[in-house]
């Protein structure tokens, strides 16, 4: 095979002519810029890239990408993208969604896209609030959240999106943050390379209705001691001075955080996103507390499983391989199959 021709696209090529209409200061701007900046790396012609979204602030995203795009209806983007991706394996299909869109009204489509392993790159902008409807709590809002629809505090326990995706048999699960462009792009890169569904949660600040929700992970005073930056094949240590690490608790389930000084090097877990058993990635997804300390970012899980698209394509190819006649001849044969009789 010859080397693919370098398309020499730039971020500018991916900017559409539409005026961007998010609130000034919204985290979505940073994500849009990061995605537009990353797209040239794919070296895929713009016409073969499609962004499909649902409803919500994040779902306006496709309008701003100079690719093909569809802004669909609330929660249904994974279903629509499944039909597109399955019938058009030549396309690179991206789904942009939010915490309400993907986890509330569209929860069913998300989990089924993940279990099927449809070849979709799903970017979930999680701001833990309903923005477009002006500030109701979302399925990722913390218990007790005071919002317009919960004046005395929300009684709902939230979803952990990564745990949910892992439970839904996702083959690729990652998390990143709107404000860290370099990290965001590194996660997009890994997602793009993954065959099958890639689920990426992006912590995104809504400066109007839920400002500072992720400040613990962003502020210079707290972020280094709170973020666990996962790197494949590296021991999991974190903190300003690497003073924390992740270990398997003796006799317990899952993972826990300990002080590095009190831990031997052998005890520190070496991150391996390719572990088949989802229990490991699930344990990682459970590390953060309500205060967002011990929040892993990066690729938690990346395992190989044939994509739905490829299995369907194989079945289609196998069926077509047996065909020797024209479609018209074949169809005439089908019409006349079974018990027929002739009247002269």
């Amino acid at each position: 095979m010859s080397e693919p021709v370098a398309l020499k696209l730039t971020a500018k090529d991916f900017k559409s002519n539409q005026e961007v209409r998010w609130c000034p200061g919204c985290g979505d701007y940073a994500i849009l810029a990061a995605v537009q900046g990353f797209m040239p790396e794919l070296n895929i012609p713009r016409e073969r890239i499609v962004f499909v979204s649902g409803i919500g602030c994040s779902s306006r995203f496709p309008y701003y990408m100079n690719t093909y795009g569809m802004h669909s209806i609330h929660g249904r983007a994974p279903a629509i993208a499944t039909g597109l991706s399955t019938t058009r394996p030549d396309l690179s299909v991206w789904v942009v969604t939010g915490d309400g869109d993907a986890l509330s009204i569209g929860g069913n489509h998300l989990i089924h896209a993940l279990r099927r392993n449809v070849n979709l790159k799903i970017l979930l902008f999680n701001n833990q609030i309903y923005g477009l409807t002006k500030g109701q709590y979302s399925p990722t809002s913390e218990v007790g959240k005071i919002t317009k629809s919960t004046p005395v505090g929300s009684a709902d326990a939230p979803f952990n999106p990564l745990s949910l995706a892992l439970g839904a048999e996702a083959t690729f699960v990652a998390r990143t943050i709107d404000s860290d462009r370099k990290h965001l792009q590194s996660v997009l890169r890994a997602a793009a390379e993954h065959e099958g569904s890639a689920f990426v949660e992006i912590y995104q600040n809504c400066n109007i209705f839920n400002d500072g929700a992720f400040e613990q992970l962003k502020g210079p005073a707290t972020r280094d001691d709170s973020l666990i930056r996962l790197e494949h094949n590296q021991p999991i240590t974190f903190g300003r001075d690497g003073q924390f690490c992740v270990v398997h608790p003796p006799g317990g389930f899952g993972l826990e955080v300990r002080e590095t000084a009190a831990t031997t090097a052998e005890e520190i877990v070496v991150h391996d996103a390719t572990i088949t058993d989802p229990a490991y990635a699930f344990a990682l997804s459970r590390l953060p507390g309500l205060d967002l300390r011990n929040t892993p970012i990066g690729v938690l899980r990346s395992v190989r499983r044939p994509s739905y698209d490829s299995v369907v394509q194989e079945q289609l190819d196998a069926a077509r391989a047996t065909v020797t006649e024209t479609r018209e001849q074949q169809f005439a044969g089908l019409l006349h199959s079974g018990d027929t009789w002739t009247i002269n």
Partner: protein
């Protein structure tokens, strides 16, 4: 002994038994044998929604009615000449439908004290004189079948289960049916269990030989082939024909057909059938729910396939939001609603036409779509092709309203010449359409069809974004401009209204009818049979039947106004009548019935006779 042979012009047989007795299969086989002989046929399966209702009970009765004749017929027949009753429940559930003098073949082995008590028979009806008005043939079907299979290496249970083949053999003998196709069928069906092929064939032959030797059946009947146009035929159900129509749409459009579906009675058979045709480029996806099913179909259409979703009424309700999105996106999409009795779960295996309002109006916003309905099982093929043609040509969702009656009923189908089917090839947009030669305007319309360009992802230079937000005319950019919204809403309405559909034809052989019977969908057969009956008695009546419900034929208003009276029989509470009255200001009379069963020709004839008297 030599048996008398009597010629008949038509016969209606109803096979009835417990849900597990194989009555549908028995009826299917008898129908197939009858088709081979060249009779015209119409069938009506009738079964409960429960897979296996408690054995021997009235709710568990499953039946299959077949009407065959030496002339062209339109319905499965109002009342059976012959009832095959495999147990007391089957007798009790069906007796009221039989005219006096009808033949009843009963499986006496099942008329035990316990089975009689289960359905509330105080005394055995075979032993008192309650069946005196009928010709009863008591046959020990189960024990004779088991006896005939004594030398076969099959379990007692399998031997007993073959009793439906004994019954089929007997009926095949009575009506002189060719049985080779049934023997071939049994070989195919039990290919992996040869001992069952032998047992079922033996049971069939035992039934046949029993007819030939027993004195109880003194007469054998013949029904000569019907005079039908020359060509090759097969017997087909509506669901099978509709599936083939969708395959044909793929062949003639040269597009991939993508079906997104969620299992639902009575539409699931279309999913089953289409899943077998990958070699034609037909992809099927069993989605997680009705919404995902249509969503995936719409996504496939966006990518340049023919997106299809199949369901029944409850599913259409769930798909409604996505249909509106498809209206806004102006993409081709075929939505098949195999209607069943509602509301809610209703009677899932029974027929009704009560989704017309939902099809025409059941969406948020002004969201017009094309709507059409097949009139008979074989017509489902052509209706599916027509739905695909409209969807592809006019870039619109199309709702196809089948129903349980046409979906599961069957009739002979004169197979079409593939080359004669419409050419459905489409022109995808390939280059910018703006005046400057560089801009692409996704909502610039074809002046003739008012369709927008179908620019599929992968086409260089035509990158664009579409969505549910209102779009500016031509550019497709998001627009909140009041005048633009008004224009777009009106344009979406106009473009559906402007789809050319064939003029409505009126059947009025006498030419002087004052009463028009207007129908739509599956009532075609019963209405046609009723009109024939009236005409045979010297009365004039005109019949017209709508295939296109949106848009309606251009000449409909003129036709309606040229009759003294317009009668609209529907299996709902007057949904078409309501539309006709509102649209054309015609004082149409509704005749409405929601029994979950098709109209009988007889009840329509009686009703129409009353109308004729009062004109």
């Amino acid at each position: 002994m030599t048996k008398k042979i009597r010629q008949l012009d038509r016969v209606v047989i109803r096979f009835a038994g417990d849900s597990g007795d194989g009555m549908q299969l028995t009826g299917d086989r008898f129908t197939s044998e009858t088709a081979q002989l060249g009779n015209d046929i119409s069938t009506l399966p009738n079964f409960p929604a429960e897979i296996r209702a408690p054995a021997g009970t009235l709710p568990g009765v499953s039946s299959f009615q077949v009407h065959f004749a030496d002339y062209d017929i339109l319905t499965p027949g109002d009342s059976p000449n012959v009832l095959v009753a495999m147990n007391p429940a089957a007798l009790k559930a069906n007796l009221a439908d039989l005219p006096r003098g009808a033949d009843i073949i009963v499986n006496t082995d099942e008329f035990t004290r316990r089975n009689l008590a289960k359905v509330g028979y105080q005394a055995n009806p075979l032993e008192d004189d309650s069946l005196a008005g009928y010709t009863v043939h008591p046959v020990a079907l189960t024990s004779m079948t088991v006896g005939a299979l004594a030398d076969h290496e099959v379990s007692k249970k399998d031997a007993e289960r073959a009793k439906n083949m004994f019954a089929l053999g007997l009926l095949s003998w009575m009506y002189s049916r060719p049985y080779e196709s049934t023997l071939r069928f049994l070989e195919r069906k039990f290919a992996t269990r040869p001992e069952l092929v032998g047992a079922n064939v033996a049971a069939f032959k035992a039934g046949w030989n029993f007819g030939e030797t027993t004195e109880d059946f003194a007469v054998r009947y013949e029904v000569k082939p019907a005079k039908m146009p020359p060509g090759t035929y097969r017997n087909i159900t509506g669901n099978a024909a509709l599936s083939l129509g969708l395959v044909a749409a793929g062949v003639r459009s040269e597009l991939l057909v993508f079906l997104g579906a969620y299992p639902i009675t009575p539409a699931s058979d279309i999913l089953h059938e289409l899943s077998k045709h990958k070699r034609f480029g037909v992809l099927t996806m069993q989605a997680e729910d009705e919404i995902a099913a249509i969503g995936a179909a719409l996504g496939a259409s966006y990518g340049g396939a023919l997106g299809v979703t199949t369901t029944s009424g409850p599913g259409v309700a769930l798909k409604s939001e996505t249909i509106s999105l498809a209206v806004a996106l102006e993409l081709p999409l075929v939505i098949v609603d195999v209607q069943r009795a509602g509301p809610s779960t209703g009677m899932p295996t029974k027929t009704e036409q009560a989704d017309l309002n939902m099809a025409l109006f059941g969406r948020h916003g002004e969201a017009p779509v094309a709507v059409l309905a097949p009139r008979s099982p074989a017509d489902c093929f052509y209706a599916a092709l027509e739905a695909a043609r409209i969807a592809l040509t006019y870039r619109t969702p199309v709702l196809l309203l089948s129903d349980n009656y046409v979906a599961n009923g069957s009739e002979p189908w004169l197979l079409p010449d593939v080359e004669s089917l419409p050419d459905l090839r489409v022109d995808f947009a390939t280059r910018p359409n703006g005046e400057d030669g560089a801009t692409f305007l996704p909502y610039l319309r074809d002046p003739e069809t008012l369709a927008r360009p179908w620019a599929v992802p992968g086409t260089p230079g035509l990158e664009h974004r579409i969505g549910g937000l209102e779009k500016a005319d031509k550019t497709g950019d998001i627009s909140y401009d009041p005048a633009n919204h008004d224009f777009m809403v009106r344009t979406r309405a106009t473009r559906i209204e402007a789809i050319p559909v064939p003029d409505l034809e009126v059947e009025d052989p006498d030419g002087d009818a004052q009463v028009l019977v207007l129908g739509w969908g599956s009532t075609y057969g019963p209405i046609g049979a009723a009109c024939r009956g009236l005409r045979q008695r010297g009365l004039s009546v005109a019949q017209a039947h709508l295939r296109h419900l949106a848009p309606m034929p251009a000449n409909l208003g003129e036709i309606l106004r040229s009759y003294e009276r317009v009668v609209i029989p529907e299996m709902n509470l007057g949904q078409l009548a309501h539309v006709i009255r509102a649209r054309y200001l015609v004082d149409a009379i509704g005749y409405n019935q929601v029994h979950g069963l098709p109209f009988t020709a007889n009840e329509l004839e009686t009703m129409l006779e009353e109308v004729l008297k009062n004109v």
